[in-house]
């Protein structure tokens, strides 16, 4: 079902090949996988935030009929090696980063509500859950460490006693001459802005099946992940099983958003049980476990001191950033390290001349801090909020402030303070287009008229620049550019029936790569879209990838890799076909999977016939041509380029109820050339929707004494059809930097910029009432506090 522009599939709104499967219930997600002889697992979890585990009695649970085994922290200590998150990829060598070693189950202490204490394996999940009730744990409560202040207080108990305090990471960054910009500034503005803890919440939670083959000494992990190879890489040292003997299989994945990027402690516990019992063990987390324990994100605060000119130009700033990393670090990307990206990614498209920052991450008795769609989202929020704060302070139009602060293409500065080039940046174009489409100036008239009727309308703007993958610096071939996580490898091959297989290292979980990669190959090979199958998800045949799908990499890296692999394959096909058809390769073309000689339409060769000859009559092949009919490319990202754009959000705030209604939402997006605009727009809408949730609804709330308060969907509120508006999405004409590959990543863009656009709109609505917003979470109760209608809690 191909909808083509001219003869090309790329650029068209091709219908997704995933959809017939998912619309009919034929997708295979982790809980749909059944392995013969499979047992079921449930975890006993701590109900207290911080305590010493004095004793654990599992004897009664072991006696329950149907229970096969119960494992404790002591069992983990004797059957596995404590994990040091990030150590498999050298993160533990990062200066200033403290990473504790932990077993899969608590041994001496519990460190957050949900900390796994014991694992029950039983004939059914229901029996396993029944057995949890029979375990008796004795926990001596310790003072909980919940807030930044708690963690920084030297008198607070240490969460990890191997460290001197509760500091998870410290760092400093100094770029440009910060003293000089403050010396020449007309004014200095200070603001402390915070982002609250919220979380990815894929609709499918976590889950795995661990399966041990004692004969082969091979462990198979079926799991819901974004990065199958990473799971085996990280499991290996803790289990003492060579990575080569760990196979990870992952089918349909019901969303990830960064959460499912690495290894979870639960997976180690399952594997230990599966090896010990020599039987497969399945664990599917429930939503309560997910919300409390799968991982949470954000919770950062930045004290900013901005050196500005009288006309609103941000010359530079000092910032002190603090991040609450929770208890156990995420493997392999410890949450504590994201504090560095708040300052490191702050600049965005601005022309700031200097930045000096300190960064501090703290441990707390909260759930693990994990990656969430755009780990640099907080940086964008800080910058775009600060620009509005400057505008309000100086009584300037936020649009004018952006005009003055954002870089103009091909004008100095040509590079960021970090050295990354501003090549092909279209931020200025995007703000102008967004302002035009939004009717920026006319809005002020409507806003004023509405105020006179007692209605409060607001319009907010925010822009971003994302290195997805970022431009390559031609003068520093090893620096910048696309391949920061390594080259992307794809294999494209002709099957015996003439159809095409693509093997990708991506692990799509909603991004539609089975569609987009086939679109790219279809154009390059001249093969119908329907004749192409994209295969992924089994480490036995997919190329190794540290990060499979994540970081907005696929657009450039995977599409580029498939494009070049397809070209390599096409060359092989043409060389063989030229011999078989007795023609010059230059005169051959492929259309609809059939090779023909230009100008002589009667002479044709189907790919199926070509594949048959290669398999059965190798003596007919020309000299020096491989018989594999496969093209492979290890793609480095080429010349790369920026993704970016501007969002405008229109709100109305009901000052009686504190409810915020998003009335209109405009996106002007530059992601290069979209392979499939419908899929690009889907990514944008999804990202903005998560931002709407973050600002208006969602919070991973903890009480002051460390109890988790958002363990159900009645407490952790997600955006629904009645909250989310229709979106107006406009694609900006892009500056193309690469001769072949100008598809750029768009997965994170919506989520990293929208929180600022929405909050800027809300402050704009209420500014005349004296409201100043310095945070991101603005549910009705908080709006009423800001309005002074109710006292601040």
């Amino acid at each position: 079902m191909t909808d083509v522009i001219g003869a090309r599939s790329v650029g068209a709104r091709v219908l997704r090949s995933e959809d017939p499967r998912i619309l009919t219930g034929k997708g295979v997600y982790i809980d749909d996988v059944v392995v013969p002889g499979m047992l079921h697992a449930a975890f006993l979890r701590s109900t207290v935030p911080h305590g010493r585990l004095l004793s654990l009695d599992v004897s009664e649970a072991r006696e329950l009929p149907g229970v096969v085994a119960v494992y404790t922290g002591a069992d983990m200590a004797s059957r596995s090696t404590a994990g040091i998150p990030g150590s498999a990829i050298g993160m533990n060598m990062m200066p200033g980063l403290n990473i504790p070693a932990s077993y899969a189950l608590a041994t001496d202490k519990v460190r957050y509500v949900g900390d796994p204490i014991a694992l029950v394996v039983a004939e059914s999940r229901a029996v396993a859950e029944d057995a949890l009730e029979l375990i008796v744990e004795d926990i001596e409560m310790l003072e909980p460490v919940v807030t930044y202040a708690d963690a920084l207080d030297p008198s607070s108990p240490r969460i990890f006693e191997e460290f001197e305090n509760n500091i998870a990471m410290t760092g400093e960054v100094a770029m440009g001459d910060i003293d000089a910009v403050f010396a020449k500034a007309d004014r200095v503005i200070s603001a402390t802005v915070s982002v609250h803890r919220h979380q990815p919440v894929p609709m499918e939670g976590r889950g795995s099946i661990a399966e041990w083959n004692p004969g082969e000494e091979e462990l198979t992990i079926h799991t819901s992940t974004q990065s199958p190879h990473l799971v085996r890489l990280l499991m290996s040292p803790q289990l003492g099983i060579p990575m080569e003997n760990i196979r990870v299989i992952s089918g349909d994945v019901g969303g990830g958003f960064g959460l499912k990027m690495g290894l979870f402690r639960e997976d180690i516990a399952l594997a230990v049980a599966a090896v010990d019992l020599a039987r497969p063990v399945k664990w599917i987390e429930d939503r309560g476990e997910h919300l409390a324990t799968a991982g949470q994100a954000r919770e950062e605060m930045a004290e900013m001191e901005a050196a500005i000119t009288a006309d609103g130009v941000l010359l530079g700033l000092r910032m002190n950033v603090t991040l609450n990393a929770g208890a156990y670090p995420s493997d392999p990307f410890p949450g504590a390290m994201y504090v560095g990206s708040v300052s490191g990614s702050f600049q965005g498209p601005t022309k700031i001349e200097a930045l000096a920052a300190t960064s501090t991450s703290v441990f707390s008795n909260k759930s693990t801090y994990v990656a969430y769609r755009g780990p640099w989202a907080t940086a964008d929020f800080m910058r775009e909020r600060l620009l509005d704060i400057i505008a309000r302070e100086l009584d300037l139009d936020p649009l004018d402030v952006r005009r003055r602060n954002y870089v103009h293409r091909d004008e100095p500065p040509l590079a960021m303070l970090s050295g990354q080039l501003f090549l092909g940046v279209t931020t200025q174009e995007s703000i102008e287009q967004a302002a035009r489409i939004s009717g920026w100036d006319e809005f002020r008239v409507r806003q004023q008229a509405a105020r006179e009727e007692g209605r409060y309308l607001g319009l907010g703007m925010a822009s971003y620049l994302e290195a997805a993958p970022g431009p390559k610096n031609p003068n520093a071939p090893e620096g910048g550019g696309g391949g920061i996580m390594g080259d992307e490898v794809s294999h494209v091959s002709v099957e015996p029936d003439g159809s095409i297989s693509i093997i990708t290292q991506q692990h799509p979980h909603g991004q539609g790569h089975q569609t987009t990669l086939a679109q790219v190959a279809s154009d390059e090979l001249g093969v119908p879209f329907d004749a192409i199958t994209v295969r992924y998800g089994d480490t036995q045949f997919t190329p190794f990838a540290l990060v499979a799908t994540g970081g907005s990499r696929a657009a450039t890296m995977a599409n580029g890799s498939v494009l070049h692999a397809s070209r390599a394959l096409r060359e092989k096909i043409m060389t063989i076909a030229a011999e078989l058809l007795e023609a010059s390769p230059a005169d051959l073309e492929i259309n609809g999977g059939t090779i023909s000689v230009a100008g002589t339409p009667s002479i044709t060769l189907s790919l199926a016939e070509l594949a048959r000859v290669v398999a059965e009559e190798p003596d007919r092949l020309p000299e020096g041509v491989d018989r594999d009919l496969e093209g492979t490319a290890a793609y480095d990202g080429g010349m790369g380029g920026w993704s970016g754009g501007t969002h405008c959000c229109f709100v109305e705030v009901d000052i009686e109820t504190g409810m915020v209604e998003i009335q209109r939402y405009v996106v002007v997006e530059d992601c290069g050339l979209p392979v499939n605009p419908a899929i690009v727009e889907g990514q944008v809408r999804g990202g903005v929707t998560q931002a709407i949730g973050a600002v208006l609804l969602e919070q991973s709330a903890y009480s002051d004494d460390g109890q988790f308060l958002a363990g159900t969907f009645m407490d952790y509120l997600m955006p629904t059809t009645t909250v989310v508006p229709n979106f107006e999405i406009h694609h900006l004409e892009s500056v193309l930097l690469d001769p072949d590959v100008n598809f750029r990543g768009v997965g994170e863009g919506g989520m990293i910029v929208a929180p600022a656009a929405i909050v800027n709109a809300i402050e704009d609505a209420l500014a005349t009432l004296g409201v100043r917003v310095r945070e991101q979470h603005l549910p009705p109760a908080r709006i009423l506090e800001l309005l002074g209608t109710v006292p601040t809690a």
Partner: protein
């Protein structure tokens, strides 16, 4: 644990099974009947992923016990298409690029089917109101709403049978 025999019709097929009385309809469909298209997203009745039709009405199968479906006519997402031919609602949802990861999808299909059978002329506000009991984390809903409206239009204008 107490077992009970139950008889019901699922996707047009009469079934007789025994089940533990504490088993939810969702677990019964998924584990006993191996109809894994019905997904569990929260198991507390909020997300709507497990929605099936019981005697034509949308029901959260995580909140209903299997034994409560005694004698009922149950329709799950597996019973919506006609063999390899997508149901007009599924076809419309595909054409609008409605979904991404697909986990919430079966619940939306079933909720929307009940809505359209009830009122193929439902306008956008009505569709949004009716689907507000289903959570999707990927899409922002717009394309789902468009797909349901498209299916409704086709039912009205072209006589597509929902």
């Amino acid at each position: 644990m107490t077992e009970r025999a139950i008889r019901l019709t699922v996707n047009g097929v009469p079934r007789e099974e025994t089940t533990d009385v504490r088993v939810s309809l969702a677990d019964f469909l998924r584990e006993k009947l191996e109809l894994t298209g019905t997904h569990l997203g929260c198991e507390h009745g909020v997300c709507g992923a497990c929605t099936v039709l019981v005697d034509g009405e949308p029901v959260r199968s995580c909140l209903m016990l299997a034994v409560q479906a005694m004698g009922a006519d149950v329709l799950t997402v597996e019973g919506v298409a006609d063999g390899d031919t997508l149901h007009p609602l599924q076809q419309a949802l595909m054409e609008t690029h409605a979904f991404q990861c697909g986990f919430c999808t079966p619940g939306f299909v079933m909720s929307a089917l009940a809505l359209l059978r009830d009122d193929p002329g439902a306008d956008e506000a009505a569709v949004r109101e009716e689907l507000s009991g289903n959570l999707c984390r990927c899409t922002g809903y717009q394309t789902i709403v468009e797909g349901v409206l498209l299916a409704g239009r086709r039912a009205r204008d072209e006589g597509a049978v929902l």
